[in-house]
Symmetry: C2
Subunit: 486 residues, 2 copies
């Protein structure tokens, strides 16, 4: 399959998506810098897909830039046109490609909104032309709108959809040709409203971005207006909500006039919304929404961006406001507690073993904070603590929806090393133990370095004189009955 | 601080957000079922916040439903009105509350779009009234639009913003009063366009939801139209993009007319967009966008929903299409490789220890698949493998952006147990070893059970006759120089 395309951002994104899925790509682009620009997009795409996809991708296809439309189209199985958004230009290019391509090749246009009936008008075999409208960045966003014109064969849309699906995309077959299709109509309405807000001096681009990203935009990543409003209707339901909504459609809440919310339209929306929700009840939809929101915000938290940065600041304030955990009469330190997250549960319905270690790692961070060797100490002094050995015993499964409590004991230390252990419990029952040895290292010089005297003095007062029997144990398997050690 | 509110979904959400942040709440709501409805929202909120927030939340405040506005407002520090969206109703309620409340109490209205100048018209001390417009679910979404009317004091908006911020929210102070403020104008434009699409029979509610959630909606969770278009402008920049965009504003791509894209408007947008991007260059913005998209899609993958479900299906296909890894002449099995994800890197710039164990866990899953004891075997037979002990040696740090390869060796087994080890390497250099003991258990009966004979025969052929010296080691710390064991 060898698509042909204009090597702008969209074309480069397509080249990347095809090639990184193992498909050879031939590009025609009059831009003398085409090769460099495609490679820039390919570089971003390789980086992003390596992060996104946790399964083996095939050997990449070869991307080749050629000088003529004929050369690119001849022998192609699939052609993806991504020229600038001008109907005359696209029409000429598509017509030329349709003459050079094998009759069975699918020809798709990346147009954001031009009508396929008009684009296919001069093509040979117009029945194999359709729109395949992607979204930037093409190598990451799954949506592609598939739209046929008056002469497009049904099989063309299905074959195009299958190909897009094989590239990891989500083809949405649009049932009726319309200017700007579905996504761009919705985006365009929002964009024009935003332009009015700026034109009228009501808001800046930054304020408009905030008005989306910290609120409705978080929902739009997994649930659009209709399901959202279904939930907003609450127990009263979608019909009730729409009736209630009617009057606000008359209000000057947008520069756009809405349609009249007739009984017929309300009925149609309510029926479609019922079909969409299927058997999923209100409460389950609410929980799906909440779980997706939590995951999206946590995802953004990893980049300290948008709603993730808000959560970050909030948690930091809570930690500072929180009371320090008290040390008991025994040498155990209680420095860390943390709820089990739903995505930590494995196929057995229990906490997956990696997350025992993750939470124990957070408890280790809390110990370093307690000893005055937290992030600031480490950053300012180019010093750090490296774990060189850890021995975990998994004693008992951890169910979902509980809180994990960790107790920490110091078993020993010398000036450069600490040996300590954690006990992880749920509701007072031990679930795992971990024994660790860590080194105090100078990250710039690259070797170990003594810990400050104050830390060593602190440690001396914490050492457990009667360590538990699991401290110092090795992983052994005794053959029961014959005493043979494996 | 005791807010008063209508106990709909919005009011219940506010009650939850205040109470779960340790603030006592008094509610006035004429709905006889108010208490039950609030508790339903509280239950969702408790569940969601437990997942979202990984820091200690304060002791929850008490929520009390009272019979009169006076009772709710008297003695309150902060009042949040959330009555139905009718100006006459809201005005009467706010006026009544303003008479009963202490003069210093802030009064905020949750209205989605009514003008604060009109809402405050009859209030005593109108200067302490503003809009505080939240988004459903109020207990999770950070955005709250703060809008003042003609009589609102500047300090009122600042004080309200501070309070919202202390609840983990993102207050956006809207600079000019306008019907529907910012977010709802944008949402309303999109909603009216969507209603037209349904009214005209172009699409169903489900198709419109898909047109958002699999494409532009994924971006809107962290980056709105303006930054997106800045990137779409590519190397040519925002001014160039807007000039190019001009003609499409004339196209019938929305039922709404856009403003004329004059040179003045283009200049204003370009300047605001430059200020918004600040020092962040195009390439850095692209990478931030890509990283956020990957995290958002991975987050949705945890719930197998929307774009996350598309990724899931794609990865499954890739795994099935991928060639099986060959077994070498030595007894090591090479069954698993995986790229390091950026969020796995700790403050030292190295792979965090929990993720060594996570990846080693995936290699353990791959071993079970190899032995014919994969997810299907476990599910069909109510059998599973439990890790009872694991010993990890961290040998060498793992840098970002590399691929982790795992080799697996069987050290021994009996009919119910397997002892095996993994070596985790990067570019041929060993980074960690893990030794594990797992039990074959009957998850219904609750005890161990012999593995199938075929699995035992397979294992017999895999056992490493010359296991590495790290097999069977314990965690010990020898005091160098004096031979004293800690």
């Amino acid at each position: 399959m060898e698509p042909i395309r204009k090597a702008g951002l969209l074309g480069g994104g397509w080249a990347a998506r095809f090639a990184l899925n193992g498909i050879d790509v031939t590009v025609f682009d009059p831009d003398p810098e085409a090769e460099r620009k495609i490679e820039a997009v390919m570089e971003n795409a390789r980086r992003a897909l390596k992060k996104l996809v946790r399964a083996p991708l095939p050997q990449p296809g070869i991307v080749r830039v050629v000088d003529t439309v004929e050369e690119a189209a001849a022998g192609a199985d699939f052609i993806q046109e991504s020229a600038p958004e001008r109907e005359d230009l696209k029409r000429a290019l598509l017509t030329e490609a349709s003459r050079a391509a094998p009759p069975a090749a699918i020809i798709a246009s990346s147009t954001s909104g031009l009508l396929p009936s008009r684009l296919q008008a001069d093509c040979t075999h117009p029945e194999r032309l359709c729109v395949g409208h992607p979204f930037n960045p093409v190598y990451l966003l799954p949506l592609v709108e598939v739209v046929g014109g008056g002469e497009t064969a049904e099989t063309t849309k299905q074959r195009a959809a299958d190909i897009y699906r094989s590239l990891g995309m989500h083809p949405l077959i649009v049932r009726k040709e319309i200017d700007a299709f579905l996504s761009d109509r919705l985006m365009e309405a929002l964009w024009r409203e935003a332009l009015h807000l700026i034109d009228d001096g009501i808001a800046t681009t930054d304020e408009i971005d905030q008005a989306v990203c910290y609120g409705p935009g978080l929902r739009w990543s997994f649930m659009d207006t209709f399901l959202t409003y279904r939930l907003a209707g609450g127990e009263a339901g979608m019909r009730h909500f729409l009736h209630q909504f009617g009057p606000t459609l008359e209000l000057p809440w947008s520069k756009m006039e809405g349609p009249e919310l007739t009984e017929g339209l309300i009925e149609r929306i309510a029926e479609q919304s019922d079909a969409q929700a299927g058997d999923t009840g209100l409460r389950d939809l609410e929980r799906l929404r909440d779980d997706c929101l939590v995951s999206v915000i946590h995802g953004l938290n990893d980049h300290d961006h948008g709603a993730g940065a808000v959560l970050h600041a909030y948690e930091r304030n809570l930690r500072q406001a929180g009371e320090p955990k008290a040390t008991g009469p025994d040498p155990a330190l209680r420095l860390h507690s943390e709820p089990v997250r739903p995505e930590w549960i494995d196929y057995n319905g229990h906490l997956s073993e990696a997350y025992y270690v993750l939470v124990l790692g957070h408890a280790t961070d809390a110990l370093y904070d307690h000893l005055g060797m937290g992030p600031d100490y480490r950053e300012e002094n180019s010093l750090s603590l490296y774990t060189v050995e850890a021995h975990v015993r998994y004693l008992k499964e951890v169910p979902p929806d509980v809180t994990l409590d960790v107790e920490t004991r110091i078993f020993g230390f010398d000036e450069k090393r600490i040996r300590f252990g954690h006990v992880l419990s749920v509701e007072g029952v031990e679930r795992a133990t971990e024994e660790l040895m860590v080194l105090h290292v100078d990250t710039e010089a690259g070797g170990t370095r003594p810990m400050p005297q104050a830390v060593q003095d602190h440690l001396a007062g914490l050492v457990d004189k009667a360590p538990p029997d699991w401290a110092g144990r090795s992983v052994t398997l005794l053959w029961t009955g014959c005493g043979l050690q494996l």
